[in-house]
Symmetry: D2
Subunit: 256 residues, 4 copies
């Protein structure tokens, strides 16, 4: 019996600017990562996205990012572990309040963009982030790259965590994602993508870009909802999972 | 037997910029209003200020402001009640998370600057703010101008509130503060200030600028810590209160 | 012989967020109002929009706004005349530098949103804005609501100005636009819109919402490019102007 | 006959927050580097600082920084060369407009904090910055670390530049500054500092931390005005220069 959580980044509109199709991707996922105002999202958007997610039956998570609105939190910013701790507490707290105001609560925290990527490789940053989440609410689950420093940091302090895998990214032999700047980083063939997803979930293995087979833990799968093509592909993945009797349920129901 | 809470605005530094003397004013007060990042404060400052306040024995409160850093939240911004609701939930949640991370919790919320002043006169804004606080945590206490729309809005929905009075501002016949732009707005004579404070607390009355005596409710007194003179004056007020057997304690201990 | 300038607001994307269809509206207009980073736009967007406008043959203008990104510069913010002066100098200078770097220069300045609307009615604000533009470059032309305080302020100091009219908004008897909150504010019938435009340009008259005919000066017409419908309508207006032998040319060619 | 420019960073207040003692350091320097609103400064502060600098006889320069207000532009941010180009054009243009409005003009541009430090070592970033300055105004002078990639980039395109040296920082054998994180980075002995300054200016040599003597070009000396001690030290340096018949004059008077 296999199971997987499906998560996606939502609430990334800002003020008068719209982004994404939250209403269309929500029916496909179990866990909603909602932007918290630093890289995207604003208080009104957060309020509405929490409502939208709850109405669709998705479970709520915070999606905190770097304080870099114009760069959408994608650019590396050389923050200290103390900075990381503080911006996580701040953003998780802000979103948690919208969840509470809507009669619900947060299940998880998935850092965004360069915060996610930097923490995956930087133990100090990873530890600060894990500690911040733990200190705000020790029942929260950290969503982080499978095999990363972030997962290690969570395990170290007893914070629950979900290992995240990607359908459209190729893997390196050390378990990291192939950097986008390198050839072969993106998996553009849909069948290869689906095959990779099924292998990661049902065999706990992934074939790296170099052809080597390495072990991987897959608790939650990242899906995208930006554009019709992405939505259709996400639906295909979901169908393939269901056809293979993989149970799709929110991380909180099975992560210990 | 009379009692009063003493509050002050803290944590108004930002990044490399320092403001105030939080460590010096803290011993004088019972309730700390901590800026939440919109008009002042940043995540690191909030974390440190929460720690500082707890170490001094003060009780924690959120001090949310307008999204106007360069204007320090003092300029009127024509926000909608929905905007107000969302920015209150956001900021209160962010500070509450730092309180939780430090092993504590929030007692109160005091809006800052133009948000405080606009809500005092605008029932719709006041109601949105009161509802936001209530929805985040119904045990919180709203600190608001005595006799204002904010107090009415809190009473309407059963949110606890503390009527705030000022030592250095004169009052109009309708119970509002004399606008700073008008002559006589500030009370510069220390003895007159102290007399006004004692009258408000012990007789529930204040003599307006025009000479009329009107009733006033005084649950919490606002003090300032910006500069040596302000600190000395705050100390004088505190001494006068103690000499008159006024008990100084945090609002949460006596507000129902 | 009649002539009119056609202007539109451009460069209102921000970071990862796209807004408008600048490439499609540009062929319809003579004057491009480019956002300057306060209410919309960012340095990269400004650079690209200047390039795009020059490539289409449009003349460049700055479109400075309130420092309120999340509110898109639409909310009234109670700034002082000094604040207004400084934010105009800052934004006009920033855009002028992109124009210079692209081998061109600015023709005009059109304040955005609440800055435009507040200045239309507030003589002090209008004077500060006009003075700021004049001090940066006395050859610039202020685009402002026909009959407004902004036009008066420009005339007072000898700053060139273009009276702006609107196709889709009804007018009040005092020459102001009917507030959007009131019924009849928007003219939704395309034929009525076109009739109003032709009357304003060729007869210097407009029929107010109440039915009264009042004089109006029309140097530049505001058009919108947000959405297919808006683009089609703008094209229809342009066709009607050309059919009536109205010359369409940039304000700088005829404003004295 | 020797000469040197003396520069300092000014206008780093922001909104209600004050920083530095611009009025006190201005009499000591010839070139004022004025913050442009990204890492510090705001439009009102820029306007006032330009006025203050002109009144003291200092020559104006732009001091553009990273878009990181809360980090004061000190944190490395992984911007692209395009980003760098755009934020330089934007900020230089904004300050140039204040100079023009005050009846003056800019002499130079000195990037701030991590932008300065990153460009010193990254040729692509350095080239983008040099090109941006050149494109806005080819008469401007780039102030950059002696021997850095920034100086090379300026030379490559024919942009005038001034090699900057530091009194209180030790040098490495490759001509770079010893990183602050390493022992010996700061020169705390005032006599050693003054000796280093005189050697750099009069002998075009500096003794590195390791004891090796290397050549250095010194066109402008960076001084600090934050605090009484820094001011006194700056005065001592200036006195030592004058006693040694070093002419102190703005870079624009001697940089070709």
């Amino acid at each position: 019996m296999f199971r997987i959580d499906m998560n996606s980044d939502l609430g990334e509109s800002f003020g008068a600017w719209k982004m994404g199709q939250d209403d269309k991707v929500l029916p496909l996922l179990t866990s909603a990562n909602i932007a918290c105002g630093f890289h995207a999202g604003d208080p009104n958007v957060m309020r509405k996205t929490v409502r939208l997610a709850l109405d669709s039956g998705a479970v709520l998570g915070a999606h905190p990012g770097m304080p870099d609105l114009v760069g959408f939190g994608r650019r590396k910013l050389d923050i200290s572990p103390d900075d990381a701790y503080s911006i996580i507490v701040y953003q998780v707290g802000a979103l948690a309040a919208f969840a509470t105001a809507a009669g619900s609560h947060l299940q998880h925290v998935k850092p965004h963009g360069s915060l996610y990527n930097m923490a995956a490789k930087d133990a100090k940053l990873a530890e600060a982030i894990a500690q911040a989440i733990y200190d705000v609410d020790k029942s929260l689950i950290l969503f982080a790259l499978a095999g990363s420093e972030s997962i290690k940091a969570a395990n170290k302090i007893g914070l629950r965590c979900a290992s995240e895998v990607f359908a459209d990214r190729s893997y390196q032999e050390d378990g990291s994602l192939t950097p986008r700047s390198k050839p072969g980083a993106m998996i553009t063939d849909e069948n290869s993508s689906i095959k990779q997803v099924l292998s990661m979930i049902m065999e706990h293995k992934v074939t790296t870009l170099s052809g080597k087979v390495i072990p991987v833990k897959a608790d939650t799968l990242c899906i995208h909802g930006d554009g019709e093509k992405a939505l259709l592909f996400a639906q295909k993945i979901k169908n393939a999972l269901l056809e293979n009797d993989v149970e799709i349920s929110a991380a909180g129901t099975f992560i210990k």
